[in-house]
Structure formats: C-alpha cells, structure tokens
C-alpha cells in the first residue's frame, strides 16, 4: 500500500449478539492483517479465562468487557485487500452503549449491518439502521451472519434480506448488498463457497472492493469555520480547517454571520512557505487584507454561495442523554466551531426506532414515519413516554430520534446537511456531556422564545421571567420559558409571575453577558457594560432572577473575583453567591409538561 492512498472508513453495526466482532476478527485474520502480538495476547487471555479462542476476542482488550461478554467501546483497525486499505470502526451493539456506536459510526464512509440469520432482524438492528440514516451515512450493506446455524439455507437469508431492505426503505436508505456469511467457518468472506450454491452475489471482500471511494468535498461550496485567531508574531493568522470547497490566495471572501467582505492575502505555513491554495480537509491559516475583528465560530465563505444565517432551524436529532431532552430547557449547541446556548422550541415528532417494529410492516408504518409534522398546540396532561410517531411531545428519551425546531440565542452560520456536512451537523451538550447529535434539515423564521434587554448594539439575554414548577406527576422540577420580548430603557418589566416576585428597585448583573441593568420603579432605567457599573446598595439578581448574596461593595468585589468566564456560574460559585429563594419559589403543578 502506498502512502498516497486513502483508507475507506467502515463501520459494522448490529445487535449485540449477532456476531459483529467475529466478522471483524475474521476479516482481519483472512486478510493477514493481525500482528503476531495480538493473536498471542488473545490466546493468553483465552487460556487465563478458560475460554475457547474466538475471533471476537481480538477486539476485546478489557477485563470488564470479557466478563460481560460485550464490547464497550470503539476500536479502529486497518486491513488491506489487493485493491485498497480500510479502517474498521467496531461499533458495539449493546443498547446502553449506543453512544459508543455513534462515536464510531459518525465518521464512516460505509456501514455494514450485521444480522444473525438464525434470529433475524431485531430491535437493535432497526435502531442502528435509523441512526445510520441520521448520521448521514448513505452506503449501507447487510450481512446475514451465522449462516452455519441455519445450515446455509436460502430461505433464512431471504428473510433477513427482505425484512432489512423493507425497513431501510422507510428510512430513505437503499441496501447496497445483502451478503450471506459465516464468520465462524469463514464462509463467503474472501471468495465464494460451495456451501452457498444458490448465492450468485459478491463475497464480503468483493463487496468492499466494489464500494465507491470517499466523496469529494472539493467540488462543493467554500466553508472555512474560524477555529482561532493567532498573533504569535507580527502576523495575524486566522486558523481553521477547510471543511468544504477550494480556497486560493487572492479570493474575495465574506465572513458570516456578519457578512463582511475581505480578500485572502496569504496562507502562512511552517516550515515551508509559498502556499497559495487549500482543499477540503486541510487545517490551514490565512491572513486577510482587512484587519477587522474576527473570532472563533465565524464561517468564511464565498459571497456568491453564502451559508444561511439564522437563529432558528429545523433538525433531526438522536438523544443519548441520561435525562431526557426537554422542550424549553437550555442546552449548549456546538456546530463546527460555533458554540451557543439554545433551546428546543418545538418537538415536532418523536420516533422510537425500536417501536417501529410494533407497527405493522409496509405501508402502515411508512405512513407513521412520514406523517406530516403537524404542530398540534395542546399537550396532553401527563403525556408519558412518547409513542412511535408522537406529535408535539414535551421530551425526547434516551435512544430516541426526533424532529425538532431549535432556537439559538445568537445568529448562526450553518447549512442544510445535504449542502455541507460539517456545517450542517451539530451536537447538544447537557451539563458536562454531549447528549445528542443531529443534522440541519430546514431553516425557520426567527420567532423564538428568548427575552433580551437591548440598548443600541448591546443585547443582554434575560431569563428573569421563566417560571419554575414542581410537577407532582413527573416528580421533577420543570421550567417554562417566558414569551419572547425585548426590553429597552424606559420599558416596564413584569415584576410578578406565578413563581417570581421582584422588588421595584433592584439591579440585574449578567456576568456571562458582561452587562448590568438597573431597574427603578419597575422600569428599565439603564443598560450598561459591567465595567461601567457600580454597586449602589440595592438588591442584585443574576440573569436568571437568582439573588446574589451581595450586601456591600466589598462583597461585590469578591463576587466578581470568584467569577471565571471559563467556568461560568458553576456549582462552587452558585453555592457561595446565589440564593434561589429570595425572589423565586417553586409552586406545585399537576403533571403538565407545558413549557
């Protein structure tokens, strides 16, 4: 294999017991891709644990895994055929480890769905197939494994083929091939076998070699998300990875979401110089002719092909969080290098991939999946676990797939996933963890659920008027967003709600937004940067309406000192400085998820 070749990235997914690891082990073994150490180690472990040597063990490096008989995480293994090199991403199938499957599968050029021919298509087979579709993987092949268990019978193979192809069709995917296989006995891996006289198709390796290569992003629209701006020396270098398109020195470009135009002056490089052109996939740096302020998160494109700029968009997402995704709750959205606070404004539809099974096959369930995204206003009290195709649910549970409208606090430069992958897919962070991912499917109009204080260019987000409730049915605290509003100097603000009551004279200090607002006689008296703000002895609340335990100028100085923009108002800061109950309470409510 030469260094000029690129590897095709493959992922194998499927039910935990359907033999993915064995297929991978067999592929590596039959293509002579295993180092001696790996086989020795597995033989040693097999002896130590008193088990029979199996190909699947090659992929299990962990004690815990072998105890449980499941693979915990993703591995990357390379092998070569006579034609080209491949990287296999082993995607574990256990239900609880969906997040690991996603970690592996998200990067793949092609996917193989492994199905046990004796057991047929099961819940996880379907769930994984629907994830593949959401991850934007379009090349999918099916492997009917363990053919040895069904005596290589054609009807078992045809059942897997027909069931899986029908399901893939509902997802808008087409199976590239369905390959009968026995990983255990090594049948139909490299070449054909006399055990499968009825099968006229390609073997596994032949199927792999027939797949088209990785797509060519160089022909697409120009997208360079700004990753950082460096000034290590006299040069001011904008750094980023060219995600799509082609960029040349001298190109006229525009920087979004603002849209200011400039020209690419140079492409610095180390240790060489003289770079004049970059293609998709390269991590580059550029200098531009006009030195205006640039920051991480902006997207550079050609003015002739700009990315849509919006705060509201439609998306398909999958959820992996321990707690459900809740409409109206705050999350951090990361899309390319942009990171902004968002809320899920509407949950249009929840599809529990596993339950699609429960709906009768064929036209009936196609109908359910494609049911219009009619947005019904009312939410039924006590709406419990979302059903297949439920419209307007209030939450999305772990392992579910949903169609949603997302509202961001700031304008985003993004793309439809179909136009550009890198700027058309995102993750949602809940607390400290990535809890979901999705793809942009539509750009929406900008009506959204946020409140702001606005003075000229200054825009300060305001969550003072959110309502908190304790739901007796859900046994959890829920939050309802306030109606969207903009408050300027002179405007009255709502001092009393169902769960808050503010005094007529107080100050709001928003440390994350670096701003303060003075409220006098219930009106906005002043909106000013924190640097210009002085403590006047009135009560202080933060941007969420939580009182700050500040009684003196000295307290205020210490409070400011404890705040770090990087950590935000984290648990330590909150415990020390915030008092929830000074102006807020949490009234009881009967299981209404309305947020």
């Amino acid at each position: 294999m030469g260094a000029r070749e690129r590897f095709l990235k493959l992922v194998l997914v499927g039910h935990v017991d359907h033999g993915k690891s064995s297929v991978i082990g067999r592929l590596l073994y039959d293509t002579g891709s295993l180092p001696q150490g790996a086989v020795d180690k597995v033989r040693r472990i097999a002896v130590e644990t008193g088990k029979r040597f199996e190909f699947a063990y090659l992929l299990d490096a962990f004690e815990e895994e072998q105890k449980q008989g499941i693979t915990i995480d993703t591995t990357r293994l390379r092998f070569h055929t006579a034609k080209r090199g491949y990287v296999i991403i082993d995607a574990p199938g256990h239900k609880e480890f969906l997040k690991n499957m996603i970690s592996g599968a998200a990067d793949a050029d092609a996917a193989f769905l492994v199905v046990d021919a004796a057991r047929g298509v099961e819940e996880q087979s379907r769930r994984h197939a629907s994830m593949l579709s959401l991850l934007g993987i379009r090349q999918v092949c099916v492997i009917a494994n363990k053919m040895d268990l069904v005596d290589y019978a054609e009807d078992a193979y045809l059942k897997v083929k027909e069931d899986m192809e029908a399901f893939l069709e509902t997802l808008g995917l087409r199976s590239g091939a369905c390959i009968p296989l026995s990983a255990l006995e090594g049948v139909n891996v490299l070449g054909g076998s006399d055990k499968l006289p009825w099968y006229g198709g390609r073997s596994l390796i032949e199927t792999l070699d027939a797949l088209p290569g990785a797509p060519d992003f160089e022909q697409s629209v120009l997208r360079l998300p700004v990753q950082d701006v460096y000034k290590f020396d006299t040069r001011r270098i904008i750094a980023g990875r060219l995600e799509s398109g082609l960029l040349r020195v001298g190109d006229l470009v525009a920087v979004y979401p603002g849209g200011r135009r400039t020209r690419v002056a140079s492409m610095p490089l180390w240790p060489d110089e003289g770079k004049t052109e970059a293609v998709a996939g390269e991590s580059i740096g550029i200098t531009v002719a006009d030195e205006f302020f640039n920051r991480r998160g902006e997207v550079i494109g050609h003015a002739s092909d700009p990315p849509p700029v919006t705060r509201v968009f439609r998306a398909s997402l999958f959820w992996m969080g321990k707690r459900p995704l809740i409409r109206g709750r705050d999350y951090k959205l990361k899309i390319a290098t942009q990171a902004v606070p968002v809320r899920v404004r509407d949950i249009l539809r929840v599809v529990d991939a596993a339950r699609i099974d429960a709906v009768s096959a064929g036209a009936a369930h196609t109908g359910a999946v494609h049911a219009g995204a009619a947005h019904i206003g009312a939410v039924h009290a006590g709406a419990a676990r979302p059903e297949t195709g439920v419209n307007d649910a209030a939450g999305v549970e772990m392992n579910d797939v949903a169609e949603v409208i997302i509202a961001a606090r700031e304008p985003l430069a993004l793309d439809l996933f179909s136009v550009c992958r890198a700027t058309g897919r995102f993750v949602l962070v809940d607390g400290y963890d990535v809890a979901g991912g999705g793809i942009v499917t539509g750009i929406e109009s900008e009506a959204d659920g946020f409140c702001f204080f606005v003075r000229g260019e200054m825009k300060v987000s305001c969550d003072l008027f959110e309502e908190y409730f304790y739901s007796l049915d859900e046994q959890a605290v829920n939050k309802r967003s306030a109606r969207a509003a903009v408050y300027a100097v002179g405007n009255l603000i709502p001092l009393k709600g169902e769960s808050f009551s503010y005094p007529e004279f107080f100050d709001i200090v928003s440390l994350p937004d670096d701003a303060a607002i003075r409220i006098r006689s219930g009106r906005v008296a002043e909106i000013l940067p924190l640097a210009a703000y002085g403590y006047e002895g009135l009560p202080l609340v933060n941007g969420r309406g939580f009182a700050l335990r500040v009684r003196s100028s000295e307290d205020w100085r210490r409070c400011l000192g404890d705040y770090s923009p990087n950590a935000g108002e984290d648990a330590d800061f909150a415990a020390k400085w915030l008092d929830f109950s000074a102006y807020r309470s949490i009234p009881f409510t009967k299981g209404n998820w309305e947020i």
């Binding site: 150490g37 390379r78 990067d107 180390w270 951090k332 963890d433 990535v434 950590a567």
Partner: protein, 266 residues
C-alpha cells in the same frame, strides 16, 4: 490529500482545539518518536511556535542517551521544558527491583499526577496511539480525568464529528490525544516525509535497535538491521511482532496496561 496529509490535518485540528478550548496546557515529551512527531505537528499548527511547555516525566532510569539528547534538543530548539522526577519515591528507594508495576505506578503515574497538580494543567497533550496496546484503543481524543486522575472508561460521553469534551468540573483535567489514529508505520512514514530528526536509538547498531523507548532496565532491543527511516518502514511492513513486545511492564499480566492506565498512566 493523501492519508498522511489527512492524519496531519486532523492532529493539527485537535491541537488547535486544545489550545483554544482548554485552560493551562502542557505537552508530554518522552524524547521518543511519537512525541517528537507531536512537537513537529504543534509547530505546524501554531506556525513555528509551540505555545505551551513540554513536560518530561523522568524516572531517572531512562536510557542515558535519551537524557543527553533531551537536553541538547531542548537547548537547540529553545524549548520551554519542565522535567519532573518523583523525588520522594526515588529517595524512598523505589526502582525496578521494587516490582515493575509498583515502579511504573510511582515513577510514572504518580509523578505525572504530581506535575499536573504542580502546574495546575487543565489539558495534558499525550502522544498515545490506538494501535499501540489494547486499552489505548478505548481512548477518546479528549479524555477526561477526575480529581484523582482516574479514567472512567466505561462511562465516557460520546465523541463524534470532532466535537470534543470541553465541559467538565473544576479540578478535572483533559488528556488530549492528537495521535490517537496514527499507527507505528504512519509515524515512520511521516518522519521520513517531513525529515524530522529523531534520536538514534531507533536505528540498528550491531544488529539490534530499539523499537520503543523507555527505562533502561525494562526496555529491550529487537533484532534488526534497519539503520535508516526507509529501512524501518520496510521492516514494519513485514513484521508480525507487536511494537511494545520489548516493554516488560506490558507482560506482567494480561491486563497490566489497563490497570496502569485506569489509575492515570499515560
């Protein structure tokens, strides 16, 4: 772009993410080929600069020429180099004769914990590769360590689309792994292509060479006549012996590396 270009671009992206998203950073430099490639990638990422210090955890048992090479190279390149030794353990007489795993735990794992605390690093850039050893194949690119430096590999958040772990509680730190997807042969092909200087211990002398560098008592040489980068590449294309075959601590028991790594080993 060929596949080395793609690996390089991805590693540069990771280094830049670490520099932008994490607080105080340090980069482990073991003098070996991998971390030497990583230093080269950092200079590419930051246009000739390395905007964070290098950290060498010195066990005092390293192959002696590694130390002289380290000091010479640091001086030549003007590197900001932190050398850390677990003095208490050395003074308490710890060494290979105390038992290999115990020695690694004290002079490498514990020493690493000390240096992370001492400099309050929020991000530690480490040149481990997935193909080196089984437990490393489970790693994330941004891998969280708790306040006790432990790695909770069974409950790691998903990592995909290059959206890395940049949210974590205070007191935790992130191990950043820019070379996770490289293999041994990729490293040598890249060294050859970029003409990156590496220590001569890797090249055959008297029919033997080091394939992996570590402490003198616990690191063996392999039989090899490969005396140039090209010859090493040719040798690796045909070998079926694993890279760390010469590293004694891996062979203590089948799960030795996993146990070490869970507790904070690199």
């Amino acid at each position: 772009m060929d596949y080395l270009d793609a690996l390089e671009a991805h590693s540069i992206y990771i280094l830049r993410e670490a520099y932008n998203r994490l607080g105080k950073l340090g980069m482990l430099w073991s003098i070996g080929k991998d971390s030497t490639v990583m230093l080269w990638l950092a200079k590419k990422a930051f246009f000739g600069h390395c905007p964070f210090p290098l950290v060498h955890v010195d066990t005092t048992f390293k192959i002696p020429s590694m130390i002289s090479y380290r000091d010479k190279t640091a001086a030549e390149l003007g590197l900001d180099l932190i050398v850390h030794v677990n003095r208490e353990a050395i003074e308490a007489g710890l060494g290979p004769e105390s038992g290999r795993l115990k020695c690694c735990a004290a002079l490498k794992t514990e020493a690493l914990q000390q240096v992370v605390r001492l400099h309050a690093f929020e991000g530690l850039i480490v040149g481990v590769r997935r193909d080196e050893e089984g437990s490393r194949s489970k790693e994330r690119v941004f891998s969280e360590r708790n306040a006790h430096d432990e790695w909770d590999y069974a409950h790691q958040a998903p990592e995909f689309w290059d959206q890395f772990k940049t949210e974590f509680p205070k007191g935790h730190h992130i191990r950043v792994h820019p070379l996770l997807q490289w293999t041994e042969i990729d490293i040598w092909r890249y060294i050859g292509r970029e003409k990156i200087p590496v220590i001569d211990l890797y090249f055959s002398r008297d029919g033997e060479r080091y394939r992996s560098l570590g402490c003198l008592p616990c690191t063996g040489r392999i039989q090899s006549s490969a005396a140039t980068v090209e010859e090493i590449i040719a040798e690796l294309e045909h070998t079926t012996v694993s890279e760390r075959a010469g590293r004694a601590q891996d062979r203590e028991d089948a799960y030795a590396m996993q146990k070490l790594r869970k507790a904070g080993y690199m």
